[in-house]
Subunit: 588 residues, 2 copies
C-alpha cells in the first residue's frame, strides 16, 4: 500500500502574512549569515513561553495550523525582494544575496510540535524548529506572531468556559473592539478552539465554519419611533410589497392565518396585563408575598415604540425572536413588551427564543426576568402551549472571567453569555510572552544565560513527554535529551527541576504520551498526512485535555502549578553548561 503523502497547506487566512511579515533584523541577520558562510549550518530553535497567562497555571496552545500554512507557502516573491532591495538596510548588501533569497523556502526545515488545542506548560517548547540556520531564523517573528495571540485567546476562552461551566452557551461578540480586522477574526477562531459555542463575526463564521449568532442592537429599537413608522411606510418590504406586519401561521395552514400582527400583539399585551397586573398585596407576586410583578409589569410604563420594534422584528424572525430588552427599562418596559410579542408568536404557532440583557445588574435582572417568565406561565396557565420555561436569557455587558465567577456565586438565571472586549483583547494580559531561542547550532547545544533563572533556556534538541497517573490525570511534563530513551509506563524515573537541584521526584508513570508530533518535514513534502490541523480537532482536544487536568491546576482561585521537569541526564548537562558559560562575578 503506498504511504499517504505529506501535503502543503493553502496560504494563511490573512493575506498580510507574507514572507515580509517579519522583523527587519531577520533579513539583516540572514544577510550576515550568508555573507560569512554560516547560513546553511544546521540549527535548532525552541518556541516556548515562560509563564502562564492570566495568573493561571495552564495555557492552551493554538496557532499551529496557521504556522504550517505560513511555512507551506514561505517564499520571497519578486515584489518582496524588490521592496527589500530598495530599503536603506539593503544598500550595502551583495546583490547575489537576493538571488539566493529568491530560491529559499522551507523544504529543508522540520517542525515538531505539540498538537493544536493541547494544554501546555511553561518552558516545555510548543514547537521545535530545525533546519538551515538562515531559514529557521527567518521564520522567527511570524511563528511567534501566529502563536502568541492564538494561544492567548484560546487560553482566555478556555478559562471563561471553566468558570462558566458546561451548561451555558458562550458567544464571542468582540469584533468591534478587537485589535484590527484579524484581531477580530482570529479571536473568533481561537475562542471557538478554547470552548466557545459561536461568534457574532460573519467573516470568521465563513472562514472557519464557526456557528454565527446575533439578533438586534439598541439602534433597531431606537429606529422605531412608534407603530406609525411601520404604517407610514405602508409596511412595504424592500420589493415594494405591502406587508403591514402580517405573519403566516407556523404550520403554513392558510386557515390559521394570524392576520394583523400588530392587533394580535396589542391583544396579547392586554391579556398579559389582565393576568399579571393584579393589585399590590394580593399575594400573587413574589415569593414572600411582596408584590414584585404588579410593579414591574405596569404596561402603562412600557415604551410603545419598543413594542413596535419587537413586533416588527418578530415578523421578520418568527422562529428566531430574541429581543434586546434594555433600551428603555428591562423590567418596566423590555420584558413586558417581549412577553406580549412572545405570546402573540405562540398564538401563531411559533416558539419565541428569549431576551438579551445588556446593562445593569445581570444577576438581579436575570433572576427577576426568569421570575416574570414563570409568573406569566402560571398566570396564563393552559392557554400557553409549551410555556415560557425554555426561554433563553442572554447577557452581554462587559463580561469577563471575574464577572462570570461572581455571577455564579450570587446566582443568576442566564443561559448564554455574549462576551466581547475582555475576551478578544485579553484585557487582563494582552500578550503572551512567547520566545524563540536557539538551542543548538552545528550539533553544539547553546544556552542563553540570564540574570533571571526563569529566562535561562534549556539547551540542546529535546524530547518531551507527559506522564499520567493511573486515574488518568497528567502529573508531570518531562524533557529529555534527544539521545535519551523515552520514559516507559510502569518504570520508575527520577524527574528533576531544571534549575533548582534540590527539587526532584521519582515518578512511575501509568501512561506516557510523547508531546511532539512531526508537523512539517520539508524533505518529505510538508505536513504529514496523518496530522489533522483542523479547528474541530483542536477544539475537541482542548476540551479533552482540560477535562483530564486535576481540578486544582485549572481552578480560578490560587491554582496549583503543574510540574515541569527534566531527566537526570539533562539536568546535569544544563548545570555543567551553565557553569562553563556563566562568567564569575568579581566584587572588589
Amino acid at each position: 500500500m503506498p504511504r499517504k503523502r505529506a501535503r502543503l497547506l493553502p496560504p494563511c487566512h490573512n493575506s498580510l502574512t507574507t514572507a515580509l511579515l517579519m522583523d527587519t533584523y531577520q533579513i539583516t541577520m540572514a544577510y550576515a549569515y550568508w555573507k560569512n558562510g554560516t547560513h546553511a549550518r544546521p540549527a535548532a530553535f525552541d518556541l516556548l513561553f515562560r509563564k502562564n497567562p492570566f495568573n493561571g497555571e495552564f495555557t492552551v496552545f493554538a496557532g499551529l495550523e496557521e504556522c504550517l500554512r505560513f511555512v507551506s507557502n514561505f517564499r520571497f516573491t519578486p515584489a518582496d525582494i524588490a521592496y527589500v532591495k530598495n530599503e536603506p538596510i539593503a544598500h550595502s548588501m551583495d546583490p547575489r544575496f537576493f538571488d539566493y533569497l529568491a530560491r529559499l523556502d522551507c523544504s529543508e526545515m522540520r517542525v515538531d510540535a505539540q498538537l493544536e488545542g493541547s494544554v501546555a506548560f511553561p518552558r516545555v517548547p510548543l514547537m521545535r524548529v530545525e533546519g538551515p540556520l538562515i531559514v529557521v531564523q527567518l521564520v522567527e517573528t511570524t511563528l511567534l506572531n501566529l502563536v502568541n495571540y492564538a494561544s492567548l485567546v484560546a487560553t482566555n476562552a478556555a478559562r471563561h468556559r471553566l468558570v462558566a461551566g458546561p451548561g451555558v452557551q458562550l458567544l464571542e461578540f468582540g469584533l468591534r473592539r478587537a485589535q484590527g480586522p484579524d484581531g477580530g477574526v482570529s479571536a473568533s477562531r481561537y475562542a471557538y478552539v478554547g470552548g466557545f459555542d459561536a461568534t457574532s463575526n460573519l467573516e470568521a463564521g465563513r472562514q472557519f465554519g464557526i456557528p454565527v449568532k446575533g439578533t438586534h442592537a439598541h439602534s433597531y429599537v431606537q429606529a422605531h419611533v412608534g407603530w406609525e413608522d411601520l404604517e407610514a411606510s405602508e409596511s412595504r418590504d424592500g420589493e415594494g410589497n405591502v406587508n403591514v406586519l402580517r405573519l403566516d401561521h407556523a404550520s403554513g395552514d392558510p386557515s390559521l392565518r394570524c392576520g394583523d400582527f400588530k392587533r394580535l400583539v396589542l391583544e396579547c399585551a392586554s391579556k398579559l396585563r389582565d393576568a399579571l397586573c393584579v393589585p399590590a398585596g394580593s399575594g400573587v407576586g413574589g415569593d414572600n408575598g411582596e408584590a414584585l410583578l404588579p410593579e414591574t409589569l405596569r404596561w402603562n410604563a412600557t415604551n410603545e415604540s419598543e413594542l413596535a420594534a419587537f413586533a416588527s422584528y418578530a415578523v421578520a424572525f418568527p422562529r428566531g425572536f430574541l429581543a434586546l430588552v434594555d433600551t428603555y427599562d428591562v423590567l418596566k418596559s423590555g420584558v413586558p413588551n417581549f412577553l406580549a410579542v412572545a405570546l402573540a408568536l405562540k398564538s401563531c404557532g411559533y416558539e419565541p427564543v428569549g431576551v438579551r440583557l445588556d446593562s445593569g445588574d445581570l444577576s438581579y435582572l436575570s433572576l427577576k426576568t426568569r421570575k416574570v417568565f414563570e409568573h406569566a406561565q402560571a398566570a396564563l396557565g393552559t392557554r400557553l402551549a409549551g410555556g415560557f420555561g425554555a426561554l433563553q436569557i442572554v447577557a452581554s455587558n462587559d463580561i469577563h472571567e471575574e464577572v462570570l465567577h461572581s455571577l455564579k456565586q450570587h446566582g443568576h438565571a442566564i443561559t448564554a453569555f455574549g462576551i466581547g472586549t475582555n475576551l478578544v483583547t485579553c484585557l487582563r494580559q494582552p500578550a503572551l510572552g512567547c520566545v524563540y531561542k536557539l538551542v543548538e547550532i552545528d550539533g553544539k547545544p547553546r544556552i542563553k544565560l540570564s540574570e533571571d533563572v526563569e529566562k535561562v533556556t534549556i539547551p540542546g534538541r529535546k524530547h518531551a513527554y507527559r506522564l499520567f497517573l493511573k486515574k488518568g490525570e497528567p502529573v508531570m511534563d518531562v524533557m529529555l535529551g534527544d539521545d535519551e530513551p523515552p520514559p516507559r509506563a510502569g518504570e520508575r524515573m527520577l524527574c528533576r527541576h531544571p534549575f533548582i537541584s534540590s527539587k526532584r521526584a521519582y515518578v512511575v508513570p501509568w501512561r506516557v504520551e510523547p508531546l511532539y508530533h512531526r508537523a512539517w518535514d520539508g524533505a518529505e513534502g510538508g505536513v504529514p498526512a496523518e496530522l489533522d490541523v483542523g479547528i474541530d480537532a483542536a477544539r475537541e482536544r482542548c476540551a479533552a485535555h482540560i477535562a483530564m487536568m486535576r481540578e486544582d491546576h485549572v481552578r480560578f482561585v490560587n491554582p496549583t502549578p503543574y510540574k515541569v521537569s527534566v531527566s537526570e541526564k539533562l539536568h546535569d548537562f544544563i548545570h555543567k553548561l551553565w557553569l562553563d558559560e556563566a562568567p564569575v562575578g568579581e566584587i572588589v
Copy 2:
C-alpha cells in the same frame, strides 16, 4: 476649470476586511428593516468614544483612511451572499432580500469626519455617518473595528512621544507580540501616525512606506561558537566565494585594503586594552577617582564568540554596525567587544552606529556605556577620526510610558528606544470603547438613555467646532445643532456642559475651526478630491495638534480635562428630549 472629481479608494490593506466583517445582527437587522419597509429611511449615526484611554485627557483619531477604503469597496459579493444564505439565521429570510443585498453599496451614504491624526475628545463624534438606515447600520461593526484599535495605538504612540521628548528616536518593535498579523501591521502604521520614527516590521514598511530598522538578535551572537566557525566554513559566502572576514576600505581605494578583519579586530582590542585597562586607583577612571573602567573593561572576561559575532556582523554591515551587547554581560563583555570592532571599522574608514541594550537597568547601563565611550575617546585621542561621541545607544527591554517617564527622572544616555509589546497591545488599556449611536431617523432626533449620564448620547445631527484662544491654543470643542450658525471668531458665545446645567462659560474665540470635513459622499463619487488621507498628512497633523495643546492637558501626571460643550440651544434641546423620554421612577 472643471471641478476636481471625488474618487474611490483602493481596497483595505487587510483582505479579511470584507462586507462580511460584521456582527451577525447587522444582517438580521438589515433583513428586518427591509421586511418592514423601513430600510430606506434617512438615518444618522455618530461614531464616538466616551472616555480618553490610558487615564489621559486626549485621544488621537486614526483609522479614517481604512474606513474610507472599506466604504469605497463595500459590496456583498456572490460568495458573501451564498455564505449568508446557507446559515441558519437566513433560513426564514425572503430570498428576494438577497437580490436587494447584492445591489447595495455606499453610493447613498455621506460621512463627515474629523481628520486622521487629529487630537479628539470624548463625546464629540469622530465620524457622522448618514444615509439609508440599512446601509449606515450595516457598516457599524467594521467602522468601529477600524477606528478603535487605530486610535488606541496612535494615542499610545503619541503619549510615548510626549514622555520621551522630541530628541530621541522611537522605534516600534511589536510584531511578534501583537494580536495577530495585522495587529502588528496596524500597530506599525498607527504608531508612525502617533509620532514613532520607524518600525521593525518589513510588511508594514512596504504597505505604508514607513522607515524600517533592525540589526541582530541574541541568536546571532549565540550562533557564533567562536572564530573557528567562521574559519571552519572557510568563510565562504552563500555563493561559495572565500570571504575570510575581509573588508574593503570605505573609500574604495584598493591601496587602503583592510585585509584580514579578524586580525584587525584583535589588534584593536589589544590597543583598547592598553589604553583603557589601567590599574585601579590611577585616577584615569570615573569622575570621582573611582576606577570604573579598569573593572568594566577587563578584556579577559569578554566573550570571544561574541567578539567573532560582532566582527562578522560588521563585515556584513560596515556602514550599519549596531551591536546588541547584552548576550553575555553588557559592561564586561558586550561594550568592550563592540569598541574593538568599532575601532577596527574606523580604521577602515567606516563609522560604527552604536549599541543596543536589551536587559538590565537601562538608566545605569546607558550612562555607564556612554562613560566608557567617552573614556575610550579620551584615551585614544587623535588616533580616532570622528570619535565615539556620536554613537547611538538603543534600549529595548519591556519599555512603556512609565519606564520612559522614570528613565527621564533618573537620567540616561539613550538615544533611541525600541518599544514592542506594551505599545502594540496597549497593555494599560487594550481597547478603546468607541460606540456607534443612532442620533436621527427620518428627521427625528433620537436619544439613547442610560442610567449612566456619561452614556447618554447627544441627539440629532450636529456640527462641532474647536475654539482657539489668541495664543493659538485650543480651549474648547463645542457642538451645535445642524441648523445653528457656526460660532464666529471674536463673537461671545455661551458654551454649556451637555448634561450638567450649572457648568457653563462664555467664550470669545480668537479662531474657530470646524471639526468635520466631508470624507465620503457617495452621490458625488466618493472621497472628495481635496481630502488627503495619506499617512504622512496624518502624522504631521498629529504632531501639530499635540504641539498646539496646552501642556497640562497632555502631561503624564494628572492631566487637566479639556472642555467639551454644547450650544445653549442644543443644551436645552437635549434636556427637553431627556425629560420627555426618560421614564419617571416610582419608589413604593
